[in-house]
Symmetry: D3
Subunit: 238 residues, 6 copies
């Protein structure tokens, strides 16, 4: 039996609160059960050096965890003086995922930075970050359209991300912390609304996984993403 | 006229939400108007090396701002690879202030770390941090008493902090961002309930301040702290 | 037509030279076409702190590129003062992959570090690294068995890694640099000899990929890994 | 009884030696008893980026201690790879204090950096630094006037700084190390010649301080600063 | 008796393999016995800031060791986050030595970076680096002449480097690791073909050395360099 | 003609002031003309890890320059966050030189750190540092003998260091800054009283140097060191 009596294909309750803080062009609190992440989108009128003069835009991301977002306190990365490998891996994943939903040519020479800061962690912080940042990014871009900075909207569609895995021999969707710690295989899938994939990252933590297990997990991920898309659409409609 | 039509001696609305996140031994969201800080208290059964074997405890603090807690995005200190001078100054101030309310001998050989992370900044982040961390610290210590780790409660009383300053020639209490930017003098005061002071840090940003102005500011600070103590007591009573 | 007239499912020539340098317990030069990586395995009689006293071993990895292993010179990470996100991501992947082929309990309280240093890069450096490090690791462990340090051999089997991707709309195996730069989707697969997977990391660089495309890529990866296993077995037999 | 039989309101002997080293535009050795600091002023024809094109100047400061300026050797900050919080706090204080004595508009687009390096520490290094840097700054600016770079002298007056505190229940002026270590309250005051204040930083190290104690300390600080002003005027007259 | 029955004035077998890797403008594997270093030369059309607009070129160098080039594994400098003092000392020596063989005016406003990466260490890595980098530099510059970027060849001649030392009371040439560890005096000499010297760095590790011993060592160094020049000429002739 | 009408073999006036600061076990201000360095010796009852339990001592050194010890201000290394290559090279040289004058076995398990901090630079800072640190080290060790910590004095003799070089075709001794900048060859020699050498570091900055020039320079160095030994002996006799 899963914690909170969830079915194997049932994500945790998803809650997306827009306009969570006031300074950012897009600001969202996303909750996947007890996992809570603040996602902000910042628009700046510059692009990284490698894009200067090319007439296209850029989308990037940074990720952090409050020191006590976790069960025991983690050392603050600013105090350690560097970001760890896990942080870098996650923020690169978030950035690639979000870039896939934007027509960078149509964005023009401007950058949007997504900051995803975990205030409470209970598994799935990277998938919650991507799913929440998607909404913050749309709010920021809609703002550019509304104030006339953009003539056409460069958003190509929604992006959702979910973790799936094999726990105690059973394939389940949207692992929370106690499941994640015990998972034999853990896989994160980032999807577009049409079911095509942007990222698939599967890792055998314990036992290697077979081709069949991979197919089962992909199917679960597709079901989970449908529910995230629904939550995103509902939040954007409010 | 002050923003929001506040009187010169009127702090912004103060709101203290306990148990804001679930992992920390103490966790508070403190709001001074639009300034919002998450303060968590973490208890650990070790002390810094310089205290090992002395039988006493320690209280320390770290401070951070989410990159987009501010009007324009600040670079993430973890990405820069070091904490700036302002961050260090503030976290040292928070730590000294909070240590003043605890009998470190009675705490025994354990440390409590206060993490103050600003999620939205509108002036007074350090004073809100101290005032909120006070409540998180009490919750953490009450937990130690409740579970029998501590026989006697080492809390000596509440600590509150407020900023006061001279803006357009007038002394005012609890400056918000637009006032802070225009202040000639800016002073942070940390107080105990009996009116005695733990810290006074006054800085002439523009015009130097006279002895009389200093006295006026201290009086305003005292009035402001009374209201913070009231908010702390009310939160702790809930 | 692919460069060098390769068929879509044909990896580049794979060459594994054992005992490439003299100090390391295992030392391999692995070549996937023009990609050349030195993989060494170092045995040490300690384990990381989190494993102390648990009676089990550890396998870890570090990755680097010589500054002029690439078309234009990259800045040396030691001179920059930190390892980039790509480096961290790759060395974490190598370590996870290699750990999957060792019974860490049977290894006892010792660590093996795999250093993978690219001396010439032409695409697929991480997959070449994993495939070469596998052989270096076996040599190091066989040495421990030969000198009596280990009673039973903790090796569970071979591990191979290959990149597959969609280039100009066609699925191909073992991308070299010019293909990698043009790929719409790029996927790295790490496999055991029985066909089960340790890692699947697929990224849509351009166009998202469909479920069918994913299946095609996995099939190509399986074929590619068979050839790597053959090369590993042949090298180990010499 | 105080060390060296000083009266409660008596600073240590103050000695200011101008032209102490030969390269800097201003160079002073300042001694407050056994505390000795080299203060140099460097003029450069640039301003920090945030002031570019605004037609005004800037005054900044850096602070350091020789490793064996203290009783036991401190680790060299250059070797540690970062400046500690105390160093940052002090150099920010020095910079703010010195800026208060200069009309930055009249200085024009140039920067003056005050380097304060402690060669022997015995309490009060920050107040000695400010008091000595004041003289080095005047020498540097007088040089600019003398060589015609400046038409009008942007110096607004002298700045002096002193520490005061409560030691064994008694308020005393200009604490040396043994007093500083035992102080219940420690306060640094930075003053202009007209008695107005630029900085007041009071910290209860042990017992909190009352309003009356604060007033007593401010009065002592005023007396102490008078003597520093006298020493500065005398040095400048030589 | 020396290891491998070498005579006191006999360097180890010297082997220089050109075009060792394919991307660099010059790429050499140099072997002094069991010491093996990859030396690449990279040409870039920029100069350091202090040379901008002066119409002259620059030659610089970087040095590194693969972690397991040595008997026991060294920590990777990129992972430590800084280059050690020995690395800096060596790369400064390599750069000075190579600059001496180039007419920097005739090179024009371009830089050449020599990367010397030790893949196997057995004493004398810095002298092998200089001797190999000399050939890589010539290949890079000859390329500039061949493609018309340079009208006249700025190479002034060959540069060779050798270590000499006093081991067990006897002066010997080209110390390998076991000799180096036991040497009383260790000296590195960098020479031009006409016998004039660019660098002499002699260090008494154990017993100080006399004027006569210094003369003996210089004579040995001259003999050793002759053999390196011969190997360089032969490699360049192929 | 040399600056200050010095003869080619005449060092600048050498001045050694003992007990310059009060906390260190040895503290010297050394002046070679306008070059001024504070050298302190700190005794600590520990040894580096690689010497633990071997019953011998250690001597090490650190070197720094005050930012405005030079003609134009250098960036503070503590602010840059790392020590440059030149600093590292110099402090390694100082340490090796000073170790040569101490019987490390007789010193017992304790360390002495020599801090050499340049307060005014005019060429020859490293040779002044070594020559001054020699006296500080003797004072520190004599202190250990005097207080009974050491039964026998581990000092083997004095160490002196001088720079020599070829300037405008002429060999000269103890180069000051304007000479050093123009030198074709620059050589630092560290000597014992019996004329044997600990270090010889000769660098051709411009023209390579011949065997005969090297001999001339060594002879000049010997003459210069005699004068330094005289100054050291005189200072120690006071």
């Amino acid at each position: 039996m899963r914690p909170n009596e969830r079915a194997f294909n049932q994500p945790r309750p998803i809650k997306i609160t827009r306009h969570y803080t006031k300074h950012a062009e897009g600001s969202v609190l996303v909750e996947f059960g007890e996992t809570k992440v603040i996602c902000t989108a910042t628009v700046e009128d510059t692009v990284p050096r490698f894009l200067k003069g090319l007439g296209q835009g850029w989308v990037t991301a940074e990720y952090g965890m409050l020191p006590r977002s976790t069960h025991s306190r983690m050392q603050r990365e600013a105090a350690k003086g560097k970001q760890g490998g896990r942080t870098m891996e996650i923020q690169r994943l978030i950035a690639r995922s979000l870039r896939a939903m934007v027509d960078l040519q149509a964005l023009g020479e401007r950058s949007i930075t997504l900051d995803c800061d975990v205030i409470q962690a209970d598994g799935g912080t990277r998938t919650a970050s991507i799913s929440g940042a998607c909404v913050a990014l749309i709010d920021a871009i809609n703002g550019l359209v509304a104030n006339g900075s953009l003539k056409t909207n460069p958003i190509k569609g929604l992006v959702a991300a979910i973790s799936v895995g094999i726990v105690n021999g059973e394939a389940v969707c949207d692992l929370e912390y106690v499941e994640d710690s015990a998972a034999e295989t853990d896989m994160n899938v980032v999807m577009l609304e049409d079911g095509r994939m942007i990222e698939v990252q599967g890792t055998a933590e314990g036992e290697p996984f077979s081709h069949e297990e991979l197919l089962t997990l992909l199917d679960l991920a597709k079901q989970g993403c449908e529910q995230i898309f629904a939550a995103q659409r509902q939040a954007l409609a409010e």
